[in-house]
């Protein structure tokens, strides 16, 4: 787990750097730190491909805004990743929130015990994007509330309340899932 404060990948070319220089520098950065960023993007979007698309969009925006970035480009990239995830993916997010309504009763292949960790990640993908982003920042990237607030451009209080709501929702969802599973087990045994 790499904390946000660790600034690997530099030194970065200056604001006046040409596109070629920026690409070389970013390729070096992605080789060193891209895995962690991609894992974060996958957790934010729910799939490998959507995660790659999100990371690519963030990299493109970084290239576009290079001259205007004041400070560490990695910090900008990380903020962009989270902002794009909670913004551009909103529409897909709406459908995904509604999808459980359409889900049919599970078939017999769902009767096996579900690993709780996998189940929690599946439930994580049902959370509103802002809550999901906060959970990923706090428990995957292991940032403090202040660091997470800086990435998301909000107050530490907002991070704290979103984390609390997100965890409460996960507990509630997992209880529902547990009850449904218990109900199915009972039906099976009767």
């Amino acid at each position: 787990m790499t904390p946000a404060a660790d600034t690997g990948g530099g030194p970065w070319p200056g604001p006046g750097a040409g596109l070629g220089e920026r690409v070389i520098s970013l390729e070096r950065f992605v080789a060193e730190r891209g895995d962690m960023l991609l894992r974060t993007a996958i957790l934010l979007t729910g799939s490998r491909e959507a995660g790659e698309d999100l990371l690519q969009a963030a990299l493109e925006r970084l290239m576009r805004q290079w001259r205007r970035i004041d400070g560490d480009p990695e910090g900008y990239l990380r903020r962009t990743l989270y902002n794009l995830a909670t913004d551009g993916w909103r529409r897909q997010g709406l459908w995904r929130r509604k999808l459980p309504l359409l889900e049919p009763a599970p078939g017999p292949d769902a009767l096996a015990a579900v690993d709780l960790r996998d189940e929690l990640v599946r439930l994580l993908l049902q959370l509103p994007l802002r809550q999901r982003a906060v959970i990923v920042l706090r428990y995957f990237e292991q940032l403090t509330e202040d660091e997470a607030a800086e990435v998301l451009g909000c107050s530490a209080g907002t991070v704290k309340s979103a984390t609390s709501r997100g965890l409460a929702r996960l507990r509630e969802l997992s209880r529902h899932a547990g009850r449904a599973e218990a109900g199915r087990s009972k039906e099976r045994s009767s």
């Binding site: 596109l19 970013l26 729910g46």
Partner: protein, 324 residues
């Protein structure tokens, strides 16, 4: 479940993404996309300085027979995109009605294709209503969920938005309020759609792929030429994710948008079937109608709570202030 959820989550997230490697080619793809966007922006400026000439070109292109894909020049694309952007900026003149339907390829591990539904939405100047309805054989068209937003108070730079949701399966409903500097946006509102389409179009990666009859209109088809990799699913090749937009050639407002993306899962599916990798195609198609704001059309924005439904506490406990 009451203790250690954070640790379990952390382990789960580690497991979900274990072994993921970022391809350095991502940077080259992003650079290529950036260059195209810059070229498209220059093309749009050039089109702006020669508006009269571009208009003449457009008249000859738009109402005529369908040109072959790729036959329309970049300047025409910039012209069309600019007009779509402008039309969307004036969306407030219409009541927007959308109907969205997802379709899933074989191998999809979420809801079965037979259980998919439709999302209907109406939106006009800050008020919106969305209905999710089943498309399953049993109960086809039956509403599953209904929600809506309306601005109830705006003063001193702060806006209070009321949100109502009716859950048909549980026969319950709730109402909650959000107060902030900007109204709470509904992802299906006209302004959200307009912003989304404008943002997508500004990527500069669209090409005109001829005309197609959509919703009774000989629409212009704009296709996103994405740089993301081609994937093969069930023997078919797809470039993902991609967006296709059809616009009315007279108003330049969208008549249909489709978004296509795919997903893979490693480890276990949500139904716990052991797989190493599974790819599926999901297509989200939205049809648009831009209606005059007559009393009959505006009535579609109202939510009626069915008799016998019980009001419950909002999940986020955001009760509305008195009088709101």
């Amino acid at each position: 479940m009451s203790t250690g959820i954070e640790d379990l989550l952390r382990e789960g997230m580690e497991r979900f993404t274990v072994g993921v490697r970022a391809d350095p080619a991502l940077v080259r793809h992003a650079a290529r996309r950036y260059r195209r966007r810059r070229l498209a922006a220059r093309g749009a400026i050039a089109a702006g300085t020669a508006a009269a000439a571009a208009a003449a070109v457009a008249i000859s292109v738009l109402p005529g027979p369908s040109p072959a894909p790729g036959a329309v020049h970049a300047t025409d694309v910039a012209f069309i995109v600019r007009h779509v952007q402008r039309a969307l900026a004036n969306h407030d003149d219409y009541l927007q009605y959308t109907r969205t339907a997802p379709t899933f390829s074989a191998g999809y591990v979420g809801p079965s294709p037979a259980a998919t539904g439709y999302l209907y939405a109406w939106s006009y100047r800050g008020q919106s209503r969305t209905v999710t309805a089943s498309a399953a054989k049993a109960g086809k068209g039956r509403p599953l969920d209904e929600s809506g937003t309306v601005v109830v108070r705006a003063a001193h730079g702060m806006t209070t938005t009321a949100f109502v949701e009716v859950v048909y399966g549980r026969k319950t409903w709730f109402r909650e309020c959000y107060t902030g500097r900007t109204p709470r946006s509904d992802p299906n509102s006209a302004s959200s759609w307009a912003a989304q389409v404008r943002r997508d179009l500004s990527s500069g990666t669209f090409v005109v792929a001829g005309h197609q009859r959509v919703g009774g209109v000989d629409a212009i088809k704009l296709v996103e030429k994405s740089n993301t990799p081609i994937v093969s699913v069930s023997g078919k090749r797809f470039r993902m994710p991609s967006l296709t937009l059809w616009v009315d050639p007279t108003t330049y407002l969208p008549v249909r948008v489709t978004t296509m993306w795919f997903s893979t899962l490693a480890g276990k599916t949500p139904l716990n079937a052991p797989v190493t990798q599974l790819a599926s195609i999901e297509v989200l198609g939205t049809d648009f109608r831009w209606l005059p704001p007559t009393a009959a059309n505006l009535a579609n924005l109202n939510i009626t709570i069915p008799r016998g439904f019980r009001q419950v506490t909002p999940p986020r406990s955001r009760t509305c202030p008195q009088g709101a």
